[in-house]
Amino acid sequence: MNSLEVKSVTKIIKNKKILNNISLEANDGQVVGLIGPNGSGKSTLFKVITNIYNPTIGKVFVDNIDLQKEYEKISSEIGFLIEEPSLYENLTGKENLMLISKLYNKFDSNIFEEVCNELEINKFLNVRFNKCSMGMKQKIGIAAAIIHNPKYIILDEPTNSLDAESIIKFKRLIKTLATRGKTIILSSHILSDVEEICDKIYILQNGEIIDCINNQENKHCIQYLIYTEKFNLRIDQIPIIEKDGQKVLIVKEEQLNDILNMLSRNNIRIFKIQEKRNTLQEKFIERIGYNECD
């Protein structure tokens, strides 16, 4: 059973189709990534998921509740940060966070403290929000998305303007939240981060989902490149290319043993064996189709 489901959502703004027939699913405890070029519709999709926008066609279900019809029932279980933090400029970070947790009627001092510690925002909690730096604002924005302990956490480019150390801590926090059964959907342009923390990744382009990658499988999908001398044997199902006068066999992990045996039986010299991990970046480039990129 999927706890968050986007069903064939189309969003038209000012006669322009921003999202086109999008379907997406996320389960309990899953971290789902959303990647795509600028303007592909990531933020718009997030706004539909959080009921900021109404879908033109289609529906969003959270815990089997139709978001558009019965949003009130589920609203306190959804926390979000979309584009920039939407907080009150004249209030301090602390006042903002208190306000949010109180408005959701879910103020819990333990969670409050934990979130502040994890994100290391204690130092500037009493600074007025419009006096905060970009990174400080971003951290308070992330805190605001999780301060009321929601089950669904929607984060649009959460690592924007965070420093390197904070990004590492943030990723750790996301993993912890996922182990507690939270469903997290996030977007980012930093593919290595997405690859590291997400279980499932959707690729969005021009308002359409063009691929869904199961990251667990993708991570374990390792290929080997075997560089050998030239030979005239035909080997079925193995792609072979020629490079610098050598043959290169592209072999999957489970085929590796058989191929090596076969090569040695035929006395074919092996120069080197290289491990090739199928990174998200490669997959992304392959799907989006930037030919000029290497």
Partner: protein, 253 residues
């Protein structure tokens, strides 16, 4: 109840009350100055109410327009509408609580102004040795009854006007445009532009300064007063209903 309290706290913490307060202090200062130069030599009490209620036609609606715009439209402009209207109790209630909080603050400000203004004028009149009270047509008790019932009507008028500002704010989502349209409506009414379309009897705007001469009347016409009070209240409820219908349909960005 709790939420209304939070909303009021938010307004206070965000210092939303500052603009109306400054304009009101300004208003008191100017009025106090003119009071001491009143050529018609009215007594203190007549003068207090005369000036105060006359201002319900111009200065106070402007303050209300700016204040209510500030309270609501800022949420759209600063994108905090996302958190404000996506609450467990729903958009309608979020809007209603906001409206109540705004009305409470503005009412408190006006009642305070009323008494501070009265006090200041009292001092001015005392210093100048002018007449404090001159019972010429009715009793002191009757006078107060008239004065406070008029004050009540003015406050109801102002918050009805505030509800209208909310509707414009929801539609335009832009602060400057909301204030301009509200003021345009105000001016149009005073120039009588609406009278061709809407009969005066059912136009709440026309009740704004109806009673500014009440002190000169032999008898205050309470039936007509009650009618105007009900007119404002029903218009107010109508406005709230319209804003409920609108807030459900708009997008919060």
């Amino acid at each position: 109840m709790n939420v209304i309290k939070l909303e009021i706290e938010k307004c206070i913490k965000e210092r939303k009350y500052i603009a109306p307060l400054i304009s009101i202090v300004f208003f008191i200062a100017i009025s106090a100055y003119f009071a001491s130069h009143d050529p018609r030599g009215r007594d203190y009490f007549t003068y207090t109410y005369y000036v105060f209620i006359l201002n319900c036609r111009v200065i106070f609606p402007i303050i209300v327009a700016i204040f209510f715009t500030n309270v609501l439209v800022k949420e759209f402009e600063k994108k905090t509408a996302r958190i404000h209207f996506l609450k467990p109790y729903g958009r309608e209630k979020a809007l209603l609580y906001k409206y109540i909080a705004g009305s409470v603050i503005i009412s408190i400000i006006f009642i305070l102004t009323f008494f501070v203004y009265e006090l200041i004028l009292l001092i001015v009149f005392k210093i100048k040795g002018l007449e404090i009270f001159n019972i010429y047509e009715f009793s002191f008790k009757e006078f107060y009854l008239r004065a406070y019932s008029t004050l009540l009507l003015q406050i109801v008028f102002l918050i009805t006007f505030g509800a209208m500002v909310f509707i414009i704010g929801i539609i335009t989502k832009k602060g400057i445009i909301t204030i301009l349209i509200s003021l345009l409506i105000l001016i149009s009414e005073q120039r009588g532009l609406f009278l061709d379309i809407i009969p005066k009897r059912i136009l709440f705007l026309s009740t704004a300064a109806k009673y500014n001469y009440m002190l000169q009347l032999d008898k205050m016409v309470y039936i007509s007063y009650l009618y105007d009070l009900m007119l404002n209240i029903s218009t107010l409820l109508g406005f709230i209903l319209i804003s409920f219908l609108l807030i459900r349909r708009i997008e919060l960005d």
